[in-house]
């Protein structure tokens, strides 16, 4: 059950270094420009060194920054295993936008754990949620820099957010390094196309 205490509760899941904080910043600032109250929670410190990261953004919400279990309106997952790890935060009628290109943890590369098949992950999640899954790394590469993966994903979720597209574009321009604006805007467009009906 999603909540009416907030217009949109978003879970952002990924791996330290993928730019989850940047995405939440762009959404947060955009929401403030669109005159919404915002609450967000970030992962800092330990998890940043390639660890598992989950951030929350609550749009139009005056309460705390943590989203209650099973009630998020949507999820932006930068990495498939991390989508699965935090999927219980999302409401059964929520939308899950996920990148299917994996990042292997050291526990996998060093042979202690195995990494499940990303397609299998997507299929499992599809059983209970509305899912848009695609290879965002390929799109980021197409935009000109694989580091824009986070903005590709932002583009994809943007179709569902209660924020005007122009406002998001403005915020991207203000928040990414000036030299990379064009690449990032292209990444945003490519991402948005994956979810525009």
């Amino acid at each position: 059950m999603t909540s009416d205490l907030s217009y949109f509760d978003l879970v952002i899941a990924g791996v330290g270094g993928q730019g989850a904080v940047k995405v939440s910043d762009i959404i947060g600032k955009a929401a403030v420009s669109d005159e919404m109250s915002v609450r967000a929670a970030e992962t800092h410190g330990m998890a940043q060194r390639g660890g598992s990261v989950v951030n929350y953004v609550r749009l139009g919400c005056e309460l705390g920054s943590l989203i209650p279990c099973g009630s998020a309106h949507g999820m932006l997952a930068l990495e498939p295993v991390e989508a699965m790890r935090y999927i219980h935060d999302v409401s059964k009628d929520g939308i899950v936008v996920m990148n299917i290109s994996p990042i292997y943890p050291v526990t996998v590369t060093s042979g202690q754990c195995t990494y499940p098949d990303p397609k299998e992950i997507a299929a499992r999640i599809e059983k209970d949620y509305r899912v848009v899954a695609f290879d965002a790394v390929a799109l980021a590469r197409q935009a000109g820099n694989i580091k824009t993966l986070n903005v590709v994903m932002l583009g994809a979720i943007s179709s569902y957010l209660p924020i005007a597209e122009e406002t998001l574009v403005e915020c991207i321009k203000n928040l990414v390094p000036p030299k990379t604006i064009d690449t990032n805007l292209k990444a945003f467009r490519l991402g948005r196309e994956t979810t525009r009906q």
Binding site: V32, A41, E42, M46, G51, S65, C69, P105, C113
Partner: protein, 601 residues
């Protein structure tokens, strides 16, 4: 500047410090507190002094000194840092202050990045220094100017308790104008106040006790505490900090109304507690970590003879450990009042997911140092370590102990003193060495330990966000300053074996560590190489490396090295190097088949 801005809680706190017209700020980095000083230090225009101190005790004393001279001062740290600063804290309570002094401490329920989850409010009770606790980043900002005023009014420092969710939460923040500076900076001699010899301390202790009632009286009517009585229902909730916001959402989701007392001050508003208890039959106290308010409510109820049932941590309705959230509050409230909760439990994971622990970065010099250290000393040697990025070496089997900042060397001595015969090699970072490692090293040398001390000098305080330290030749605001030379410092303390090595040069490092191991007494080796993140920021780029699949035998030796850039292809049974490679070249020396090489241009 006014208006509304989207800010990190710590940035909002920094803004509150500026709005409160601060004069001096000091601190020691520690998650989740670090961004407060980082934000203030990176401001282009600043009319206050700011520093990163070498540890929290020093930072507290700098802020105290400033306050004695009439300045408004702030000191920041994380909860465990307050243990280091506890010595000046306890006496400062007696001595009091002149200019407003705010002690900002960030607690970390659930130990997101800490070695314990202690509750700073206990220090408030212990020292009898008042404490303010915000529920939202907005309140955090607004509380700081008030904290200065309160501190000046009662001439006592004020503790400001934040938690991870406030410090690292983000929110739209309404800004207020920056206040005009008023105080005159002038140290006035007043030995009765500023010299805590027994004669003076004996006078100040009753004084400290006597102002408690006044402060409590002031808080009774303070806007930081909010009481609402619900005549329709005889249940009540008392909550503080972020837990108060969760509790409100929980009530809303459960669809029940209850009398509500939000507490933001310590000493707590006892009259408000009494009013709430008088109007209710059952009350739940919701607070993160220690049952500070719960205990006091029970005392009040007993003193007045109220029959109200008080639920909370003591009865196990709410957990004593870990961070709270809306779900925990919903469950607690439902259990306390016997309501059906439509609670949602995370379903047991339908799929086995690989754990993803944080790891040292690709190209981190510590990985090379640890590798050689293990080779030279043997896997069975004892490796006491300390707090910083290198603690992540636990995955490599090179971190056997981590107690608290600076303890690695003293723990190593203790293990040696106990009669341990295995070789002992302890590791400590540059910033941590300055923090409290120096004392431990001096002690080890003086008391004739036979250990090797490896100072992992990555030229920064990396774990908390790359704050400068005295080894860098830069202040908090990146002004050039003296650069403390580790080797000379160690020699001056009497160390006779002191060598500096570059951990990227594994052969040379191995040679030095061999000699250090053979040396009888304290040998000090400084492994010096800038953190890859700072190096990259300074524009240093190396050519990445690759695996020649013809030469790779699939032995997985390089994978055990643990660099996140090295992967294994299960189909071809060959190793490969991904785009995260930073080109340190360390893995070249790991491969027995010369299969790893620089990418040819």
């Amino acid at each position: 500047m006014s208006g509304r801005e989207y800010m990190l809680g710590n940035v909002a706190i920094a803004r509150g410090i500026v709005e409160g017209a601060v004069d001096v700020v000091s601190g020691y980095p520690g998650t989740p507190s670090s961004e407060i000083v980082d934000t203030l230090a990176s401001m282009n225009e600043r009319d206050f002094y700011i520093e990163w101190s070498v540890n929290e005790k020093v930072a507290m004393e700098v802020a105290a000194g400033a306050s004695m001279a009439g300045a408004r001062s702030v000191v920041t740290m994380k909860h465990v840092g307050l243990n280091v600063a506890a010595d000046p804290l306890m006496t400062l309570a007696y001595m009091g202050v002149k200019g407003g002094m705010v002690i900002i401490v960030a607690d970390d329920p659930s130990c997101h990045s800490s070695q314990n989850e202690q509750d700073t409010r206990r220090y408030s009770v212990f020292s009898q220094i008042p404490c303010l606790e915000p529920s939202t980043p907005q309140q955090a900002k607004d509380m700081i100017p008030y904290a200065f005023e309160l501190s000046e009014k009662y001439e006592i420092p004020v503790i400001f308790r934040s938690t991870t969710r406030i410090s690292h939460g983000k929110s739209d923040i309404k800004l207020a104008p920056v206040r005009q500076k008023t105080g005159e900076i002038k140290f006035e001699k007043n030995p009765d106040r500023w010299v805590m010899v027994p004669k003076n301390a004996r006078v100040r202790h009753p004084h400290l006790l006597s102002i408690q009632q006044d402060i409590r009286g002031e808080f009774e009517f303070s806007g930081w505490n909010e009481l609402s009585i619900e005549a329709e229902n005889n249940i009540g909730v008392i909550a503080c900090g972020t837990a108060a916001v969760y509790a409100k959402e929980a009530l809303d989701r459960l669809g029940i109304t209850a009398s509500f007392l939000k507490i933001g001050t310590y000493p707590i508003p006892e009259d408000s507690v009494r009013q709430l208890l008088a109007k209710t039959e059952q009350v739940i106290v919701i607070e993160e970590l220690e049952p500070v308010i719960e205990d006091q409510c029970k005392v009040i109820a007993r003193d007045v003879g109220f029959e109200t049932e008080i639920f909370g941590k003591a009865d196990g309705i709410l957990p004593r450990t870990g961070e709270f959230n809306v779900d925990i509050c919903m469950e607690g409230i439902a259990r306390a009042f016997g309501i059906d909760s439509c609670e949602c439990k995370p379903a047991t994971q339908a799929m086995e997911l690989p754990v993803r622990p944080p790891a040292m970065c690709p190209g981190c010099s510590h990985r090379g140092t640890f590798h050689v250290m293990k080779k030279v000393f043997g896997e069975d040697a004892v490796f006491p370590s300390d707090i910083g990025c290198y603690t992540l070496g636990i995955q490599h089997g090179t971190v056997d102990t981590t107690l608290c900042m600076g303890a690695s060397i003293s723990v190593a001595s203790g293990i040696y003193d106990a009669g341990e015969k295995k070789p002992i090699c302890c590791t400590i970072g540059d910033s941590t060495f300055f923090h409290t490692g120096i004392n431990s090293l001096m002690n080890a040398i003086y008391n004739k330990s036979d250990i090797t001390v490896l100072i992992l000098d990555n030229r920064t305080t990396a774990m908390t966000g790359h704050q400068p330290n005295p080894g860098m030749g830069k202040t908090a605001t990146y002004e050039p300053t003296v650069e403390v030379a580790f080797d000379k410092l160690c020699s001056a303390m009497g160390a006779e074996f002191v060598e500096v090595v570059d951990p990227y040069d594994m052969d040379a490092t191995e040679d030095v560590l061999q000699r250090a191991k053979a040396y009888e007494g304290v040998s000090v080796v400084i492994a010096k190489r800038a953190c890859v993140i700072s190096a990259a920021r300074e524009g240093i780029r190396y050519t990445p490396f690759m695996v020649d699949t013809n030469l790779c035998k699939g032995c997985r030796k390089c994978l055990k090295f643990g660099c996140p850039a090295i992967e294994f292809d299960e189909v071809s049974k060959k190793a490969s190097i991904n785009s995260m490679c930073s080109g340190c070249g360390l893995c070249v020396e790991i491969c027995n088949f010369d299969a790893i090489m620089e990418v040819k241009k």
